[in-house]
Structure formats: C-alpha cells, structure tokens
Amino acid sequence: MTSGSLLFKNRWVGKIKMYDIAIIGAGIIGTSAARELSRYQFKIALLEKENDVACGGTKANSGIVHAGYDALFGTKKSLYNVRGNQLYDQVCQELSIPFKRVGSLVVAKSEEDLLTLERLKENGIRAKVQSLKIIGKQEAFELVPNLNRQVIGALYAPTAAIIDPWEAAIAYAENAVTNGVNLMLNYEVSNISKINDVFQITSVQGHTLKSRWIINASGLYGDHVYRMVNSALSFNISPKKGEYYLLDKAAASITNRIVFGCPSKEGKGVLAAPTTHGNVLIGPTSSLVSQKSDTKTTSEGLMTLRDKAKSLLHHIPYEMNITNYAGLRAEPSTRDFIVEASEIPNFINAVGIKSPGLSSAPAIAEEIVGIIERLNGPLIVNPLFNPIRRPRLIFSALSDGEKELLIKKNPLYGKIICRCEMITEGEIVDAIHRPVGATTVNGVKRRVRPGSGRCQGGFCGPQVVSILSRELDIRREKVTLEGVESYILKGRTNSAHGGGNLDES
C-alpha cells in the first residue's frame, strides 16, 4: 500500500468483486475482527468454509472468559486475555451476549499446590489482573460448598466469567453484517495468489474475489492457509482435543463458580463450570490428535475426565448427563498466539489461538485494527456504524403480561416447540430470519436452544425440521443437522415402487 486511503465503494475488477479486507474464518476471532473493522470505511468479506459461523473451535470449548493469571506474563496470551476480559462487559452489553462474572477458583490440595497458587497469583498481579486473592479452606467452601473435601485453599479470581461462545460469535457476525460486512458461507479458500499488491482468493466451491488485505483467522487451518501465500512456513498448528460432559440444569447446584484443578506436572487439569444457560460442564481432556476433523468423544477420554474431575468437586451427578462433545484447540508450534503482520505484506495472521482464545477475542480484534492502522495510516470512521445488536426475545424470561402482549402481536410466540427449554416457534423463526440466520437444525439450536435441553431434540427435532423447511422453502429431506450433507431424512415413505425403495420421494 502506498497511500493511506482505503476506498469504501463497490469496485469490480473484471467480474471479480474487490474488497479492502478479506477475513478467512468466521469463528470468534474472525467475527470479532469483522465487527471491529466494520467501525471503519472498509469493504470487508468474511469467508467461512462451513455453512454457519462458529463451527470450529468456537463451537466446542469451555465457554469461559478467563481472568488472565494463568498465561505467562509477557506473552501475547497474557496481554490479550487480561485486556479481552476487561472489554467483554461492554461488548456483551452492546451485542446482547449472555455473560456472567461468576468468578473462578483454582483449588489446592497440598502445600505444593499452594505454592503453585502463589506463583499464579504473582503472575496475575504482574499482568494487572484485578482482585486476585488466595483464600483459605473455609472461604473456598463458602463460595463452592460442593468442593472436593481435600481442598485446603484456592486462588479466587472474581473477574473470571462465563459466556455463551456461540452466541458471542453469532452476535459479532450479526453486528458486522448489519454494519456492511459481506459474510460468505460455504466459501472454503483453496488458493490465494497476489498480483500487483492485490490478493486473489479462490474457493473450493469455485468462487473468486480480490482483496487488498487478508486476515487469516482460520483457526486450526491457519498454517494451511498461510502456506498458500508463503511456502516457507514458520509455524505449524496441531489439533488438541478436549472432551466434555454437559449436565442437566437440574445439576446446577453442584457449582455456581468456575472450579479449576491446580496445574501440576501432569498438566493443567480439568474444570467444572456453570454455563450461561444454567447447565454445568465438566472438561476438557487434552490430547493431541492427528486429524483436524477428529471431534469424536471416546470412552477412554470420558473415563479420564470423570477420574480427573473427582479432584474438583465432591459430587458430580453423571446420571444427569445430557450430552458429550469434543472440540479441537489450535495448538501452535510457537506456543504463543500468532497475531502479527506476516512476512507477506498486507497478510495478517491471527491464528494458533488456543485457550484463552475466547477470552482474548475482543483484544485480538482491537489489535488487528491496530496493525492495519499502523501499516496503513489513519482509518476513516464508518459514520453509519451501529454498535448495538437487536436482542433476542426470550419468551421464557418474559413476565406473563409481556408474554400475552407478544402472542397478540405475533401468534407464533404462542406455540411452544421445545418443551425442555420452553422455546417458541416465534423465537425459532426469528433465529432463521435474522442477519446470519440459522439454516440447519444445530444452527437453530445454537441460536435459540431447542434441542439443548434434557430430551436433546427428541420431541422438538421433527418440528424444527418442519419449521426450517417452511421458512427456507426447501423440502424436509433437504434440511440438514449441521454439515452440508448432513441430511436427517431419507425420502418419503409409501413410494409407489413398494417398501424396498427408499430413494423415491
């Protein structure tokens, strides 16, 4: 770039659309960066290989905004975590993201553990984590009565918070789109070339666009995408699997705060935490796997998890388990986050964002804006930028009077589809028709939760399929669970050719 002006207007180079910035990956990093960049006069494309946002690491993690004492002071992880934690209050308010500062405890069961807590606390104080303190047994049990009986003290971090990670990314994406960002789903980048300072980005699906800047926020695939422009790759990203239990809301009393095991030679240990929706999650395990698509849960992993979690809480009612899941963390060979202008001009890497990535996202987004400003010169503010996202109506949270009024206005709110979570048809239809609307059963589930409850979609699943079919105007057999080919139904029964042929519809 030679001049400081990035023009904000539709430009077409031949038939290929031209952007100022292309962000590759619509997880929490890509979506938060898109929203922060939409404050300025850029033409932005947000590219995602899956059919929805938040489908990678953002989909399956602990849903925690860490306080920031854990990451080693001086690293990017430490810097962005502490800053991100501070930024989340305003972000969640503006974007209506469920967020609660419930506080966290790292529990100690030995003198050695207590020394570890001291080290963590010192590290946290250097990183300017507020209100950290080491508490004794009595205070720890007052905070979480169900702690493992052998706990003798804890590091208490009141600023640690829980957040809905999907809603965070969806909300960022929605707000970005509302502010002019072009979200392109099913756009799996297959090739990047650079001609005359302009990147040309081609997708597996056969589309091409041009952009002056690229932000590589492709998570696990960050090394793969960077290799497209720089064969002399300086880092690798490996998938590290974490498996989880998610317990019924009826188990909520087992902990109302985040409880971490004490890090030791055996590793960082696992955690137990409430979720913003009132469930409890237990996890994650930590094992390097060979495939970047391996999100299977395993008998061994779940057994290890149950074993490790014993050290946190006295009682964990696994009979109240409603689902298990596994997510992959993007483990960079550099060990620290990679957030920097790369060796290729105008190509910014924001990859290798493992834990505490969700915690750091708002700060990483801020840093990405900073990098562009430093290289490009002053940015022109987008005068139409609106930081506020329209909140979702949550029927079950309304008063009886409000419920009555709402149904009068829109009768779809009078039809409860999900009996476990009391989700109405109105909420589901809204989730489908918002910007960045749901197009799959799990997309609906991540936005408004039918199927997240204790029956896991047993009753509401067929109804959600039918609503998606109606609202998207597609046949029910074309409705998918999650991935592009994840069809739920296999044609109509009673085909004229007899019972043996399932393909006829």
Binding site: T297, S299, R419, R454, P462, E485
Partner: protein
C-alpha cells in the same frame, strides 16, 4: 378461567382420568394437550397389541386412543389442543399458551398430572464417537415414519431392546430398510416376549445381547458403528470390537417421566422412579394435585395406564366433592420384572397376549403336544404357528389432507406371514383422502385373501 379439574396431557392417562372424573360428577373439566390431536404418543404407535387387558381385544395405538376420545367428546368434556402448559403454581394456577387464545391463566381446584414420559437421549449413556446426523431416539424415528411419512435411514442399527426398539426394528424392515441388528447391553431383552418373536424372529433380525456401542464414525451422516461385548459389570471387553457399516443409529435406551411442571408446582419427586411421590389415592405432595400414567412411573402396557388414570380421576372427584381424606402413607412403584428370554427349536413364546407364555412344543406322530400354556389359546397358537403362521400387519397409507400426510392402517384379521411383504407393496401404492372413519375398509381382500386393510384412525 376457572375450572374444577385441569388435566395436563391428553394422552391415554389424561383421557381416562377426565372421563372417570366426569362420570363421578365433576362439572367443569379441562384437558390440555400440546399436540394438534388428543391421544398422546398412541397416535404414532400404529402397531397392534394395545387393549388386550382392558378391552379384551387387540387394538392399535390410534384405535385405543380413539375409544377414549369418543367417550370424552360424548360426555362434553372441554379440551384444548396445540396448547402448552408452561407453568403450574403451588396455588394450582395453570399457565398455558396457544396461538389463537394467547396466554391463559386457568385457576383449578384440582389438577391431574398426565404429561407422560420422554426418551433418554444419547448423553444419558455417554455414547462415544462423532455427532453426525442419523442418530435419533426410536420414538423420534417412529414419529417421522408413522406420522410425517419420512424414512430415517437405509441401513439401521438399534441400541436397546426395549419394546420401542423392537417395534421400530420391524417397522423399519417393513418400510424397506436393512436392520442390521438390535444390540442390548444387558444379558436379556427388556421387551415383551411377543415383540421379540414378531419383530425380530419373523424377519431374522439378530438380537445381540451383552453388547454396547464403543465408537461411532461419520462426519455429516453416520457411517459406521462399533459394537463390543460387555462383561458382567457391563464394561466393554477389549478385543471384541466389531464394526458395522450403517447410516442410522436408533436409541431405545430408556424412558423417564416428564416432571418439569410437577416440580414447578412444588410436587415432590421420587428420585428412583423419577415420578411424583404419591399416596395410594395417587395424590402428590401438593393437596389436590394427582398424578397418573407415565408421568408417575413408566408403564409397560397402556391398559395399566388407563386403570391407574381412572383411579386418579376418582380421587380427584372425591377431592372436589369434599369426600377425600388425605392418606398419610406414600407408596412407590418398583420397576417391573423383565422377561428373561431364551429360545430353542422346540420352545415357543405365545404372542397372543402380553403374558408371553413359554410353550414347549413337540410333534408326536400327527399330533402336536403343547405344554406351558396358561390358557387354551396357547395351544391354538402353537399349532397355527407350526402349520400356518399368521400376523396382523400395521402400516400407513398416503393421506390427502391439509394437516396430516399419513393414515395408519391394519389388516382386519391376521394375514399369512409369507404374504406380509407383498401386502406392504400394495399398501405403499395406496392413496386415500379424508374424511375417513376408523374401521373403514381401505383395501378390500388384499392379495386375493379374505383379509381387508382397514383404517385405524378417524380423520374428519
């Protein structure tokens, strides 16, 4: 709105409770049902085997439901469909919503809880593997196939040999799917003996006892399931893994009473059964609130639900008439004993009723001797089973109707077993339009026999 008695749920429990209460003189009764039709889960249970105890005849689910729905309509009991109760307060205010009337606050003097149960999901057994499409509970599949008219898969494995799992194995087979096996973690099946015979043996579907799933693969759709044998502590035995290619896994791993509303009303729940703690009169810990049916404990047979619901209806009417003395003792329901199942060539299980007598059958010359039968029907069954086995076939035909796309049907008398598949292909070519009454002949004399295919549901 004020009523004497509000009944939450219009399935078999709610229907019977309402009719009994009305017969006992309760004036204003309101039955609240979340589905578009009364009848509850029976509407999707299109198979036969209902009513043998209560009506002394064999009915399908929709037929069983319709008998009570007719009585309910005849007695002028009010009901709301497509209406969801979202809260019951300790003061017996029932809060419900629907699309047309909006929010309703129903002040009831007495309440009968009849919400039924739900299926345990995948998480309840912490089933490992990936999470693609193609994993669903047997009941969800039943709804897709029998009510909505959609196939759920082509190559199917079923985990859990309870009755729903067995019934769905047959149903899927008849609809043209390949059912690889029914796997069961226990060393015996929890299903009725007659279902093992009619649903698995008839179609050579293997029952793999002492097996469970140790892995599941597939990104978008299920591709492969790994089964392992389990030891006597139900732990998988290493080295016994066997992979099965399939596109669908149905789960039939148990049912749990659905008591979210009961808890909101302050009703105490028995941790063992998952249902409310009740007195011998079926009164819960909240005076004037009664419970019956699967919301109380999971029943194997709907006839028992009906009888229990009649008791709840009687109790509520006595409560409303001031004749009720609260019983201080509570009772608990123990899980019923499961049938141990074994099979050999000269042994046979009578499938004519849920008792499922084990018959010992020996041909002696031209005669056949039968022992083990508790009633004369057992002998008749064994002889006909050996000479010319017959089955009642149930399925659906295409229905041209605004809201419903399939009509449940059955053979009006048992059909020769070897004609079942051929009959299915005729049924699958049949299209009907409403109005239709239950019992109407849809196909007369199928395949040249004297067996008719008749409707089992009335569609106005």
């Amino acid at each position: 709105m004020k009523v004497d008695l509000a009944i939450i749920g219009g399935g078999p429990a709610g229907l019977s409770a309402a009719i009994t209460a009305k017969n006992n003189g309760v004036e204003t009764i309101l039955v609240i049902e979340r589905e578009p039709s009364l009848g509850g889960i029976l509407q999707q249970c299109i198979h036969n085997g209902f009513g043998l105890e209560y009506f002394k005849e064999e009915l399908t689910g929709p037929e069983y439901a319709e008998r009570f729905m007719r009585q309910l309509l005849a007695s002028g009991i009010h009901f709301l469909t497509e209406t969801m109760v979202y809260e019951i307060t300790g003061e017996k205010v029932v809060k419900a919503v629907n699309k047309t009337q909006g929010l309703m606050l129903i002040h009831a003097k007495s309440i009968i809880l009849a919400m039924g149960c739900r299926e345990k999901p995948r998480g309840s057994i912490a089933l490992p593997g990936s999470r693609p499409a193609g994993v669903m509970t047997a009941g969800t599949a039943q709804r897709y196939i029998n009510i909505e008219g959609y196939h759920v898969g082509k190559k199917i494995l079923i985990l859990g040999s309870g009755d729903i799992g067995l019934i769905m194995a047959r149903r899927l087979f008849l609809e043209g799917a390949e059912v690889i096996a029914v796997a069961e973690i226990l060393p015996y099946s929890g299903g009725l003996a007659r279902n093992i015979v009619q649903c698995l043996h008839d179609y050579d579907i293997p029952l793999l006892l002492s097996h469970t799933i140790t892995d599941l693969s597939g990104k978008d759709r299920v591709e492969e399931v790994t089964l392992s044998q389990v030891d006597c502590d139900l732990r998988p035995i290493k080295g016994t893994e066997r992979k099965y290619a399939c596109d669908t896994l149905l789960l039939s791993v148990g049912l749990v009473p659905e008591n979210e509303l009961s808890k909101l009303a302050g009703v105490q729940i028995d941790l063992e059964t998952g249902g409310p703690i009740v007195t011998a009169d079926l009164e819960t810990s909240v005076p004037g609130v009664f419970a019956c049916g699967n919301v109380l404990h999971v029943h194997d047979i709907v006839d028992h639900v009906t009888l229990e619901a009649q008791q709840a209806g009687t109790s509520a009417s006595r409560y409303l008439q001031g004749l009720f003395i609260r019983d201080s003792a509570t009772m608990s329901f123990k899980a019923s004993k499961k049938t141990q199942y074994s099979s050999s060539k000269d042994e046979m299980i009578c499938i004519l009723c849920p008792v499922g007598c084990s018959l010992s059958v020996k041909p002696v010359g031209d005669e056949i001797t039968v022992t083990g039968n508790k009633c004369p029907k057992g002998r008749e069954y064994a002889v006909s089973e050996l000479t010319s086995p017959k089955r009642t076939l149930t399925s659906t035909v295409i229905l041209q109707h605004a809201d419903l796309s399939r009509l449940p049907v059955k053979t009006d008398k048992p059909l020769k077993k070897e004609l079942v598949l051929e009959a299915m292909s005729i049924i699958n070519q049949t299209i009907v339009s409403s109005p239709i009454k239950s019992g109407d002949i849809i196909i007369s004399g199928i395949l040249g026999t004297d067996v008719n295919i008749v409707s089992t549901r009335s569609i106005p």
